[in-house]
């Protein structure tokens, strides 16, 4: 039977029916069976990538898997093997440098991971073994060990709770670091286990490890003195998860069932894979193009060389005989080595330095995020943190934002705002107004300044005090004293609420939901204080300072389908009362019609303001009614089969015919500027999805509060509730709903105008989509493969047409699934995840960019994120200002780099046509090497660090500017083609300009002639000046650094050329450039041609800039990047 149930629960997956059997304390269950300890993995967490032994080979292998590194390696090897025009040092040295630096960096990072792993793995835990307690390192825990955990410790592995120090065999656990729910959850020991764990003889049979945090199925066989073993079923309420923390319980004992990488926490972690930015993909694409250019250049040259040589007299003129070796070499081999030589000659078109510069830009650029004082939060005294600098530019490309709710959008800090009793609104204004703490604000006009009857008020407050599962915090020793003192004070001071409140507020409450605490605290402000639950008796301190006692008869627990909870209590006077609170939609049908209207208005208004509203109802149970309910409840509780369903039926029977007393409004305080941030993100064209593990109602109200859903947003709901409404099979219902929503949101939606991105303020109907975890898994794992794909597509299309999407009740891995699905959808949009808890880790890792919020508890998210910021509000600046600027900077950097190397190498290529395809370099080796390293690298680096084509304030004020660079706008093929053509144009100009000048090489006024190195030097001078000035032309933000670096590199070039040509260098074989530069400068013609070519190269650019000035109504927004419009933006300020 268990098998069957297992099967059903696991969705019929036949492969995973295998269960594992665990011997508690490694004690054999029966004497007859030989005890064979089963093999399970150990409790070691491994997140590191390398060991000392495999570091070198593995790291080198991984580095050379990068297309660029491999390319440079090949070039280097060719230079070593073949006689090439340039020495192997020119490419070997930079490559070695890059590889070494990267290896050191990665080695260091892995060492940090090793350290972190060790910290977890070497943590000492107490294990009960052979009658004693043994301190063991965490990594040595084996499945079956009985582990003891004390308060505030985290569980070292997944445990089945066997024994708790609490009397009621429960323990409290917070899973904040797992799923983000910071409330305390109650877990239960396995019933009927013996107090003495030493003599416990039991086996546990449970399912194989699986990542769902909320699912666990197993059973425990307890053997007692050769009797037939007792069987107890185990559920998630018995399982303590690794990573969760024990609270309010002195110590517990549990048996390890899943260890190490098989724990649910570890299964929910995905390996931190190397994230690569879209820009890097663009670079690789461009790289391939340039590789093709390179190969074709080499091919053209090789072919032409042999065509040219086939003419008589050209192959081997008398003045240039071949060496013996050349003569002997096979023709095809010669052709091949010629091809390789050309490759080497032109290989500078793809420079190592680009990678170095890009890395440097990213590394140094990320400091500006760390340094930004706007990201500094005085509360936690920290600023932003950058874990990966590889993704800076991705921050400017985000299309989808996935945000966690609790702790990210909200502070997870509930506050009682107001209530409505019998149609009258009560707003709490700091206890200063009236004696009883009540004041009436805007009730219905006619009833202004009226209040509901005192009786109703008190009934309502009693309901708040009784209808909950809150427990009063049992503080530790000194807390105990304090609390006693407190109560004394309360008793003593009594009547005056003003004094009592601040003291009472310190009272700690524990509840499974923070709302309940807020309500109890709210009631306390109005004079009704919940004192605690002692042996089924609830004590309330009422307004008159009398203690009222109620016997708690039943708690009808909250569940997401019913969406309400009730308690049945018996007052001192003997009345049996049922108090019920729940969502309006679940309460209204169960109360009398006429009462609803009075309250509905308040509830709806509160809901749209983003408050979490609950309605409170009650009914007096007659003796018979109670007896019937009591019997029903007891019977259902004991049911072994379909217990849930049976309970539900009884609940529904009991909770009818109630009368509505009032409603409450609780605010989950939003993070500072949450709404503004969300608005800005949407204005910037990003779609915001809220992924939360929380309940739907809560999440929905948060969405309203953040203005993600607006008043006129039509909500499309796809949740367990809507699926069950139809009363048909879920699958069918899902199918229908998906089609219906698809029709609504996708097919009937007005076609989006080309070019205009849908904005949140556009006139069309806005849709919001809500889905929950259970439904999502139905969508994703539909029974048939074809359906699954179809549903997935429908779902995605609906989501993409909605302004906001809310996914609630998500398991951590489901969050990641959603992110992954969007990430891999058409157009592969760039996704960003932001969250604060460990439950967000998987989605943070999955998204292109993961942002961690430095929340108050848990650093899991921060550690796994790419960027961490103290508050949600910082996201706006991070994306709109930093992201935008980084993207523009790096895009320009990449394009410029390709451009400058194209016009660097093109003249060298053209020169081959004039030197008999002999691989004669046009430039001196020093120039070839230094061009990318010294002469032209610093200005672009400075540009890519400092450029602000639009200043930050404007970027922040106009979120729409973000759309201008959306979809990798500056690195598409269009701009790339433009830059490439520019490079070709410049290259042609440089070469042929000088070529025509050299039609008469007598360029000096003393009639002397210039040689080939002078030719190259003139071209090179024009080149260096042109590419530098081209950058100067593009620079919109000239700080002193830009000035220094741009003019500095030009000056350095001139200085270097003098220096390089001014000395006979003893280590050089050939003094090619001796005084070439100086002689060049003594020629007026050379000066004139240099000036001419530089100006001619830049003039079209200037013209283009002037004529590109956009016109029309959108000009001012679109023009963001062109210089002329910059003026407009400045003017608008």
């Amino acid at each position: 039977m268990l098998r069957r149930r297992l099967n059903r629960l696991l969705g019929g997956d036949e492969r995973r029916v295998d269960s594992r059997t665990i011997y508690v304390g490694h004690r054999s269950c029966s004497a007859t069976e030989a005890f064979i300890p089963p093999k399970f993995c150990d409790n070691r967490i491994v997140s590191s990538k390398y060991t000392v032994w495999n570091f070198l080979p593995k790291n080198l292998f991984e580095q050379f898997r990068r297309i660029a590194n491999f390319y440079f390696l090949i070039i280097f090897l060719v230079q070593v093997i073949v006689d090439t025009p340039t020495s192997p040092v020119t490419s070997g040295l930079p490559l070695f440098f890059v590889i070494t630096v990267t290896a050191i960096k990665q080695g260091y990072e892995d060492w940090l991971r090793h350290k972190a792993d060790n910290e977890v793995n070497k943590y000492l835990v107490t294990v009960l073994e052979d009658g004693g307690r043994i301190q063991k390192e965490s990594e040595k825990i084996k499945v079956g060990d009985v582990v003891e955990v004390e308060e505030d410790e985290t569980f070292p592995c997944d445990l089945i709770l066997l024994q708790s120090s609490r009397d009621d065999d429960t323990c409290f656990v917070t899973t904040a670091s797992l799923d983000g729910e910071s409330n305390h959850k109650t877990h239960y020991t396995v019933p009927d286990t013996e107090k003495d764990l030493e003599s416990l003889n039991a086996t546990i049979e449970c399912e194989q490890p699986q990542p769902d945090l909320y699912k666990f199925v197993g059973r425990m066989h307890i053997y007692k003195n050769d009797q037939e073993p007792t069987v107890r079923s185990l559920g998630p309420e018995n399982l303590l998860l690794k990573g969760a923390t024990l609270k309010n319980t002195q110590k517990i004992c549990g048996v390890a069932v899943y260890t190490g990488m098989e724990t649910k926490m570890a299964l929910n972690y995905q390996g931190k894979s190397q994230k690569r930015s879209a820009v890097e993909k663009s670079i690789n694409a461009f790289l391939l193009v340039y590789l093709c250019i390179l190969v074709s250049k080499a091919l053209v040259c090789t072919t032409l060389k042999y065509v040219w040589q086939s003419k008589p007299g050209q192959d081997e003129p008398w003045y240039n005989e071949k060496t013996q070796r050349e003569k002997e070499t096979n023709l095809y081999l010669k052709m091949f080595t010629d091809f390789l030589s050309f490759m080497v000659l032109f290989n500078f078109i793809i420079p190592v330095s680009m990678y170095v510069t890009v890395e440097m830009q990213k590394f140094l650029g990320s400091f500006f995020i760390t340094w930004d004082k706007d990201f500094f939060d005085p509360e936690i005294k920290e600023g932003a943190l950058v874990n990966t600098s590889d993704l800076n530019e991705e921050l400017g490309q985000v299309e989808y934002v996935f945000t966690d709710k609790t702790g990210t959008l909200t502070q997870n800090n509930m506050e009682f705002i107001e209530c409505c009793i019998d149609g009258f609104q009560y707003k709490y204004r700091d206890a200063s107004s009236e004696l009883d703490g009540f004041c009436v604000t805007d009730g219905p006009v006619s009833k202004l300044q009226q209040k509901a009857g005192r009786e109703k008020e008190e009934l309502f407050l009693r309901a708040l005090c009784l209808c909950h599962t809150v427990q009063v915090k049992e503080s530790a020793e000194q807390g105990q004293g304090q609390r006693d003192g407190l109560i004394d004070e309360v008793d003593g001071l009594g009547v005056d609420g003003e004094v009592v409140h601040p003291l009472q507020e310190q009272r700690g409450f524990i509840a499974s939901s923070p709302d309940e605490v807020a309500l109890v605290k709210g009631a306390m402000r109005y004079g009704f204080t919940f004192l605690g639950l002692e042996s089924k008796t609830m004590k309330i301190l009422n307004r008159n300072n009398d203690v009222e006692m109620y016997e708690l008869l039943h708690v009808l627990n909250f569940d997401p389908v019913r969406r309400r909870m009730s308690v049945i209590v018996r007052s001192k006077s003997g009345d049996t009362l049922l108090f019920c609170k729940g969502a309006d939609s679940s309460i209204f049908p169960r109360v009398r019609r006429e009462e609803v209207e009075r309250i509905r208005m308040h509830v709806e208004r509160n809901a749209t303001e983003g408050y979490r509203t609950l309605c409170v109802a009650y009914k007096i149970l007659s003796a018979e009614e109670y007896a019937q309910a009591d019997a029903g409840l007891r019977e259902a509780r004991l049911a072994l089969q379909d217990r849930e369903e049976k309970l539900m039926t009884v609940y529904n029977q009991v909770e009818t015919g109630m009368s509505l007393i009032g409603a409450t409004a609780v605010e989950d305080r939003l993070q500072e500027e949450a709404a503004e941030t969300m608005e800005a993100l949407q204005g910037a064209g990003m779609k915001v999805w809220v992924l939360t593990g929380d309940k739907m109602e809560t999440a929905k109200s948060t969405c309203y509060a953040c203005r993600l859903f607006q008043r006129n947003t039509e909500l499309l709901e796809l949740t367990v509730r809507t699926l069950e409404d139809g009363g048909r099979r879920r699958e069918e219902r899902l199918h229908d709903l998906l089609l219906e929503y698809h029709k609504k949101a996708v097919q009937d939606a007005p076609p989006v105008k080309a070019g205009v991105t849908r904005s949140w303020s556009s006139a069309g109907q806005d849709y919001g989509f809500i889905i929950d975890g259970a439904t999502l898994s139905m969508v994703l794992n539909s029974s048939s493969e074809s359906n699954s794909n179809r549903y997935k597509n429908l779902f995605l299309q609906i989501c993409q047409n909605c302004t906001s999407v809310l996914c609630c009740r998500m398991a951590p891995l489901q969050k990641a699934q959603i992110v992954k699905m969007v990430k891999n959808s058409k157009g592969s949009p760039i996704t960003l995840s932001i969250g604060d808890g460990a439950n967000d880790v998987s989605m943070i890792l999955e998204a292109h960019v993961g942002i961690g919020i430095k929340g108050k508890e848990g650093r899991q998210a921060v550690r796994n994120s790419d960027y961490a910021i103290p508050k949600l509000k910082h996201l706006k600046k991070l994306l709109l200002a930093h992201g935008h600027l980084y993207y523009v900077r790096i895009a320009h950097l990449v394009q410029y780099f390709f451009y400058k190397n194209l016009c660097f190498i093109l003249p060298q290529f053209l020169y081959q046509f004039f030197c008999g395809y002999s691989q004669q370099p046009l430039y001196d080796a020093a120039y070839l090497t230094m061009y990318n390293i010294c002469f032209t690298s610093m200005p672009i680096l400075a540009y890519s660090l400092l450029e602000q084509h639009i200043c930050m304030e404007v970027l922040l004020d106009n979120a729409t500017l973000y759309r201008e660079i959306a979809k990798n706008a500056m690195l598409r093929w269009g701009p790339f083609l433009y830059w490439t053509l520019l490079g070709v144009f410049h290259g042609l100009l440089f070469f042929f300009g000088v070529r025509f000048l050299f039609s008469n090489p007598a360029l000096q006024d003393n009639g002397q002639v210039f040689g080939n190195w002078s030719y190259g030097t003139i071209v090179f001078t024009v080149l260096v000046f042109t590419v530098t000035l081209k950058l100067a032309l593009d620079t919109r933000h000239w700080t002193w650094i830009n000035h220094f670096v741009i003019w500095g590199s030009l000056a350095f070039y001139v200085f270097f050329s003098f220096f390089w040509g001014g000395i006979i260098w003893p280590f050089l074989r050939q003094q090619r450039l001796y005084f070439v530069f100086a002689n060049m400068l003594s020629s007026v013609s050379a000066w004139l041609v240099i000036i001419l070519l530089i100006l001619l190269s830049l003039l079209p650019e200037i013209l283009l800039v002037v004529f590109r000035k956009p016109r029309g109504p959108h000009a001012r927004q679109i023009a963001a990047v062109t210089p002329l419009s910059y003026k407009h933006l400045k003017e608008r300020e």
């Binding site: 003129p317 930004d372 004082k373 005085p378 090489p1001 000239w1038 700080t1039 007026v1084 001419l1092």
Partner: protein
């Protein structure tokens, strides 16, 4: 506490906050149009100056390859002809203003061939005696002769030294009057004085013991100029000119200047005869040889490209500024109101 806060708080400097004071240039029409006009006018000015200068330069080119049968050097173009002399006559109608520069030119000759270019030993040429005995292997295949004796100077460049010689006569009343040719200062000053050095051995001949002259040379390096001992070895001016490799396959190199005596002011109108010792074979690779007489200006030899380019670009700039003015008058000004 305060300290801790200070430690964590990012520095509030203009640099870290990306708020460095910055100059933000704007290319507006107001700057670009006048800029274009100024540049255009300046370029036209320079262009006119260049063009006029270039036009004023006199140039006389004489091909003496001897391909055509009518050419006086036809007989010498036969590769078997040894020590062949031929004579070219020409006349000038006006004074060829001095100083006149005498170039020789070769075409389809690839001095920029890579293997050719590297085939020399700069250490040897700077007078290092060790490299006399064992030249650098870059000199191959002109490193050692058959008897394994090193070539000095080694390498293809030196080996292929241009060895035609010229004598220029003015024909005055039927008699030949020698026009003195000045062979000094035709190479770069730094080449002659620093880069190329003879070994410090006197007489120079001794340094060359145990070496052989390059294959195609008729005289050893130390006997290149019997008239001037300072013009021998590696610092022979003709040798230096040759060693500076030409950039393109059609090139000219300075041979002599005419600066002395009666011809300091230039070559007067009249008839001239050029006597050529035709040694250098070019026909095997379809090359051409020529002599060029030219005077030079501040911009060097005659070169029309620069002047025309400046004129074209200058006028383009002016035209563009006019176009821009029209465009702006039509589209921009109403918008700005």
């Amino acid at each position: 506490m305060v300290k801790e806060e200070l430690a964590n708080r990012p520095d509030n400097t203009a640099f870290t906050q990306q708020r460095l004071p910055a100059w933000q240039p704007m290319l507006s029409a107001g700057i670009v149009i006048p800029g274009f006009v100024i540049i255009g006018l300046a370029f036209i000015g320079i262009g006119v100056a260049l063009f006029v200068t270039s036009q004023s330069i006199q140039l006389l080119e004489l091909d003496y390859t001897g391909v055509e049968q009518t050419s006086p050097c036809f007989k010498c173009s036969d590769p078997n002809a040894k020590n062949c002399m031929c004579e070219l006559t020409f006349s000038t109608d006006t004074l060829f203003k001095g100083p006149v520069f005498f170039y020789y030119g070769l075409s389809n000759y690839f001095q920029n061939y890579r293997s050719y270019g590297v085939s020399k030993d700069d250490d040897q040429l700077s007078g290092n005696l060790d490299n006399f005995k064992s030249p650098s292997d870059t000199c191959a295949p002109y490193e050692y002769d058959r008897n394994n004796k090193p070539f000095v100077p080694c390498g293809a460049v030196a080996n292929s030294l241009f060895n035609d010689t010229f004598k220029l006569y003015q024909i005055v009343n039927g008699a030949k009057k020698v026009v003195p040719l000045d062979g000094k200062g035709i190479s770069w000053w730094t080449d002659y004085n620093i880069k190329y050095r003879n070994p410090a051995v006197t007489p120079l001949k001794n340094a060359f013991n145990g070496t052989v002259k390059p294959l195609y040379w008729s005289k050893p390096a130390y006997e290149l100029d019997p008239s001037d001992p300072a013009n021998n070895g590696f610092i022979n001016q003709d040798f230096l000119v040759w060693m500076r490799r030409a950039a393109l396959p059609d090139f000219r190199k300075l041979y002599r200047r005419i600066t002395d005596g009666d011809y300091a002011e230039g070559l007067p109108a009249g008839n001239y005869s050029l006597q050529i010792a035709y040694n250098y074979p070019v026909l095997s690779f379809e090359g051409r040889k020529k002599v060029v007489f030219s005077n030079v200006s501040w911009m060097g030899g005659k070169n029309e490209f620069l002047g025309i380019a400046y004129l074209v670009i200058g006028s383009l700039c002016v035209v563009m500024s006019v176009v821009m003015l029209i465009v702006y008058a039509k589209f921009k000004f109403p918008e700005e109101e």
